[in-house]
Symmetry: C2
Subunit: 257 residues, 2 copies
């Protein structure tokens, strides 16, 4: 999809997914789609994602590249109790802060595990860069943290989602991107030219074409995205006419909301 | 997981996923897990993944950063017939080559669509950087292409997989990373310290801990990875003893193969 022209009010975010288990194909990431959808509802556009191994140099480099370019950076993974959980160390290094035992985090862990249960491994989970604030974890208590524009969240999807919802009120978004979908049972190769012409007339409405093949049908989902509802509806009306003129009855999907 | 010490014989690859529809959460990527697993079987480690929007500057920058660092770069998405399919243009720009009508690709499209079906949109799919070779598409014919160490593949998973399998014989890998899994019904916070000690004694065996929570059980999957089968088995034997010494009966997963 051609992105709609981004105004200076566009707020963007990046996501850094940390973990060998994602790169090996063993674990399928579910955090990207969740964050992409939820951020957009809040007026924040997920603009870049990276996946790196549990490797210190790779994490530090990605954190610094991404936090400089976007209003928000979220990381997922690597904040558990074991030796391979090195995210806090890497964030401290990237931001050039000391790694400390965070008193807020320590208090949560004390309450959660008690003096006997607080093993050296679990105590690792109290470490944050100096100056970080904790992000509450309504699912399993052990918190994430936030420092500057970097939010450090868990990798387990249920926990990540809980943490995200507990911080989401802090995010300041721009106008959310509205979308409208028109499904056409036509070959994408036939749609390409008229769709490109329509795009040229609506530079402020992003238009994407996503072909599908099934056993009994094929065609393309044509997705329009814009921050201006009237322009979105105007483009959709023309798109519907375009598809009809090509001899197919369009299916009209999710209403712009 | 702490990556096993990488020798100079480690072959790495990167994956660039191109498409707004992935970033918006609308489409869930399935290509990363497939490529991560298949590359590893071929002795190639997927070391870095990025997801970018259908945005020319973002694609060009990512292509140049990633192709310089890894033996192989794969891209997925953006090679269809519509105006938002700009991957070929971006690869040409990144590699500073002219974008041409590729005669091999044109021949495939002629055979697939015939003179009447070859719309201007479909003809876009014959464009590659000068000097590129096509990658066969056994699923829907329209080819991908390869130039230098960059392989440009489709985004639709079935098509991407077909293209990958048709090029996989070209890849020259190092020794594949073998893995072994031991599942322990123990809290990760208790496992952390002895596992860290085991890791310290086996620097050549990567050890990762992936906690899980279910309604009726919880624990951690402990995953060992190494290129040396004997060292992997030695580490696994010690890990099994470690879990038993902690009072749990380990479940032993996939055998190293």
């Amino acid at each position: 999809m051609t992105p709609p022209a981004s105004g200076s009010d566009t707020v963007t975010a990046a996501l850094l997914i940390i973990g060998d288990e994602i790169l090996s194909g063993r674990t399928h990431d579910k955090n990207l789609p969740y964050l992409g959808r939820r951020l957009n509802e809040l007026g924040v556009r997920l603009a870049e994602v990276r996946v790196v191994a549990d490797d210190r140099a790779a994490i530090v480099e990605a954190v610094n590249a991404m936090r400089a370019r976007h209003q928000y950076l979220f990381t997922t993974g690597g904040i558990g109790p074991t030796h391979d959980d090195i995210t806090a160390d890497c964030i401290a290094e990237a931001l050039d802060r000391k790694l400390i035992e965070n008193p807020q985090a320590r208090a949560v862990l004390d309450a959660r595990y008690g003096p006997e249960g607080l093993t050296p491994g679990r105590l690792r989970m109290a470490r944050t860069p100096e100056g970080a604030e904790i992000v509450e974890n309504p699912v399993s208590k052990v918190p994430g943290f936030k420092i500057g524009n970097v939010y450090v969240l868990a990798g387990i999807p249920e926990v990540m989602q809980g943490m995200f919802e507990s911080l989401s009120h802090e995010l300041v978004g721009g106008p959310p991107l509205l979308s409208a979908t028109v499904v056409a049972a036509l070959p994408e190769g036939d749609l390409a030219q008229p769709l490109g012409e329509l795009q040229a007339r609506f530079p402020d409405v992003g238009m994407g074409s996503y072909p599908f093949f099934g056993q009994h049908r094929y065609g393309a989902s044509l997705v329009l995205r814009a921050t201006d509802r009237d322009r979105l509806l105007a483009a959709r009306a023309e798109l519907i006419e375009m598809v009809r003129a090509m001899g197919a009855e369009p299916e009209i999907g999710d209403d712009p909301a």
